[in-house]
Symmetry: C2
Subunit: 145 residues, 2 copies
């Protein structure tokens, strides 16, 4: 298959508030007050977790169909811890981002064995684009003008 290209354009409305345009869509990113924002929207790392949830949902359904069981829906909880010391320039000892993510998927499906659900989960984890970009290194080239 050919590569697909995705692109967003964003601008700052203020130091913590960003307006993101993706095709015909637009969404706002902000920070909670304790991180210097005005709490007008979810923050960047919450959007990243939401991106992961959205991608896992798509893959959950793609792979359930391949494995020939009926998936009525999924519920997904994702939690992660990060230390903001590097972000704020107070210490460079720890990484800037999440140290790890814990994802719980609750599948609404009847009569599916635990073994099948484990295989389903492993295929989701292997083939989900956002999951891949988090688990494995991705070159990020930044230029400024």
């Amino acid at each position: 298959m050919s590569d697909l290209r995705f692109r967003i354009k964003a601008h700052s409305e203020r130091a913590t508030k960003t307006i993101v345009k993706a095709r015909s869509f637009s969404f706002t990113v902000d920070e909670p007050e304790d991180l210097g924002g005005k709490d007008e929207a979810a923050n960047p790392v919450e959007y990243m977790l939401g991106a992961l949830a959205g991608c896992l949902n798509v893959m959950a359904h793609v792979i359930a169909q391949e494995m020939d069981f009926e998936l009525k829906g999924v519920k997904i909880d994702i939690v992660g811890d990060l230390n903001p010391a590097r972000l704020f320039g107070q210490s460079m000892e720890e990484r800037a981002g999440f140290k790890g993510l814990e994802v719980k998927i609750k599948a609404d499906a009847e009569g599916v064995s635990d073994e099948t659900l484990e295989k389903w989960k492993d295929a989701i984890a292997d083939r989900c684009p956002v999951c891949d970009n988090l688990k494995n290194p991705t070159p990020v080239k930044i230029s400024v003008k």
Copy 2:
């Protein structure tokens, strides 16, 4: 500093449509029609790029303040290519996610040297949480019930 914990909860409304809750906020994720969705919202990888833009904006301002120059704003473009073959189960040769991301940041700041902007950019890249989670491996533990 102590770790900060972030959490989202999500549920599928259908195979490609996900509703994400982050604290008091909610956003919708969908896929375009050529990826099997109804194109009601940005898609997962676009939210991931938007998360990166939001995080880069915050860091751009944090670090400009540390470096003592006035940043009036930033414009950020991000583009990346991915091959959907693995997602669709057609080939396991290539990775599932973006092969790489290209980020262009346009800084609205007067009288700042190119050398200063390069140092600023390097610090942003090093200390941005979302950038870290994309550039470097992050353990993602998935469990199913």
